[in-house]
Symmetry: C2
Subunit: 140 residues, 2 copies
DNA sequence: TTGACATTTGCGAATAATTCGCATTTACAT
DNA sequence: ATGTAAATGCGAATTATTCGCAAATGTCAA
């Protein structure tokens, strides 16, 4: 069985450090998600992962996304009218904008939005665990 | 048939002005949603509307929410792991925060967040059609 | 290294929110 | 009043996601 395990020991570590068991399926999924620079939904992800490792089931992709999200390794983007999409937790903070004409998901770089939200939440006596923002917009 | 039509001619006008047909079902739904200060999901709404007007079906509640959203009269709040919730389009701008302990949906007053988003989107050459932000947080 | 055991997986069935098809009713412009 | 496009109710269909369970497997302690 060919998996991503042997190729990318980094992902083993990332999973171990998060207190998660390292299974071939998880390694394959993380490998694919890390290599992908768009924001795949489960179906996209499943198809790509399958090409690398055909032992993976859809259910496992769902379960893995959930586990990784809880571990803070993955961010889930809940869409308005489409299946959720995922990305590896970014080191560079950004939010998301949906281009209503093309359907593209555009990244908005910068920490301003997050900082403002933290401030505003703090004023209400809350500490942000996560925030989820999707802006729908069209080109001017 | 008792409906909200006779009681609240304001809603007739609101619907007409938006170019929508005024049906008893729509009037009942708008009446209930307007009176409600929490953010009901379709099931909540359906139950309350039913008490007022038992000709309304769930499908119509869904369809009406969709129509009103497109008309800009209603805002849909897409939740992470629960059915969507709705509110009449607020005159006072605000965003939303989910209290992770209680599950409550708290309103964050103010236009700062929206303004910042507009600015940032403009920098990328976009004009915001709508933005949807849900912050998940816990009390400090 | 091995064994024990909790975790994870694949599979297909189940769930739950939302949409759809269609026959019937209805709002409203004329 | 009347014709017609739009809206409705009903239940069936769809679709993303979760679940149950038996089999497989990762990890940890000895």
């Amino acid at each position: 069985m060919v998996t991503a395990l042997e190729n990318d020991p980094d992902y083993r570590k990332m999973l171990r450090d998060a207190g998660l068991r390292v299974t071939p399926q998880r390694a394959s999924i993380v490998t694919i998600l890390s290599e992908t620079d768009d924001h795949p939904n489960v179906e996209d992800l499943y198809e790509k992962v399958r090409a690398l490792d055909d032992t993976v089931s859809v259910a496992t992709v769902y379960r893995t996304m959930s586990v990784l999200e809880n571990a803070g390794l993955v961010r889930k983007l809940v869409m308005d009218d489409a299946p959720a999409r995922y990305e590896m937790m970014p080191h560079t903070e950004h939010d998301h904008l949906v281009d209503l004409e093309s359907g593209d998901l555009v990244e908005i770089p910068g920490t301003e939005i997050a900082e403002l939200m933290s401030r505003v939440a703090a004023e209400l006596g809350y500490q942000i665990v996560s925030h989820h923002t999707v802006i729908r917009a069209r080109k001017t």
